[in-house]
Symmetry: C2
Subunit: 210 residues, 2 copies
């Protein structure tokens, strides 16, 4: 079926378990994970080209100007963005690429890659989201409240995604994500050339050929 | 995720292996298979309500008039059609239903069930289709030629389907079909009520609640 790689954007509520999910998915299946670029300083143990591409502000701003980023944003004084080159190379080579990205960024990606597949990860219900955030035990109640508030804002955008994937059981969710992306290769819209080829071959059979 | 059953229409070229595929799919997974109604006489071994609902012309025509058929057609002097009642009952009970139906019928189904999932089964290429028709050894070359001609006409409609499923390996194809239908439950368009519920729950969290 379709030979071009599929660009999948994965978003989801903070606390939905995206990070763990992505790690498990990439460990089990062969996807390209796009590495973001940032102007923030590397933390202890972080490596350039592994966690992030660490860039100067000048370099990052020149990439913005040159249109070399699929999407970018500024948080707390630092730039974060997705370099276009890696994604395009992987897709052209037939490799499926996953971008883990927040809601606004997802829609920027779709503008540039209209055929991107947008997946939204959610816990089965809001109380479960709250519990997960609390059970992490790493954040103040204030911080958790602000994450829940943000989730309520993001929920409005869920309907713009192609699939809503409930993360209840990690392993099941990994399989679901993988299947959705796999099956996407069979979507008719991605198989114009197969259909054209099949039609041509069928029409080439002449009466009396057999 | 979505509780309503999904109505899947499976079409494909004659010789694509739909029959074998459907049998294997229904043996392994729990789908409702809609049983067609017909006015043709039962053949030896056929049972009313198993292969077909065998009806009189009067009964069939009254079903047409009453809008009790999702789609119907007349072939060689006999009516064939899909009773609506069984399909609607199964879907309401949350059961996924499969209709194996030809191209024109598929579009009639979609008109009445716009959310139906349309799958098209095809061999990997036209020569393979020809070989399979010849290797069946049950039909004259004339008949095979006319099937291939019909396939070339049907190929035009492939692009109206949601997914193109290549039947190369039977077991793989059964899994693919099952996964596509399973995943369809996670499609955003089928999860309006989940999204609404999640949004409401998230908005109900008040500042200072934690």
């Amino acid at each position: 079926m379709s030979k071009q790689g599929i660009l999948t954007v994965v978003s989801g509520f903070s606390g939905a378990g995206k990070g763990t999910l992505m790690k498990a998915l990439l460990k089990k299946y062969d996807y390209g994970l796009s590495i973001s670029a940032t102007t923030r300083a590397p933390r202890a143990g972080e490596e350039d080209g592994r966690e992030y591409f660490f860039l100067t502000r000048e370099r990052f701003e020149s990439m913005i100007e040159q249109g070399e980023l699929i999407e970018w944003a500024e948080y707390v004084g630092n730039y974060y963005g997705t370099p276009k080159k890696y994604v395009e190379e992987q897709l052209a080579a037939g490799k499926d690429v996953i971008l883990e990205i927040e809601v606004q960024g997802a829609f920027h990606v779709r503008k540039q890659f209209p055929e991107a597949l947008l997946l939204f990860i959610t816990p089965p219900n809001a109380n479960e989201l709250k519990s997960r955030l609390i059970n992490r035990g790493t954040e103040s109640m204030d911080k958790i409240e602000s994450r829940l508030h943000r989730a309520s804002e993001e929920a409005v955008f869920m309907k713009e995604y192609d699939f809503i994937v409930v993360n209840d059981d990690l392993d099941e969710c990994v399989e679901r994500l993988n299947e959705i992306i796999e099956n996407e290769h069979s979507r008719t819209l991605r198989n114009d050339s197969f259909i054209e080829k099949m039609s041509k071959e069928l029409m080439a059979f002449k009466k009396g050929d057999l």
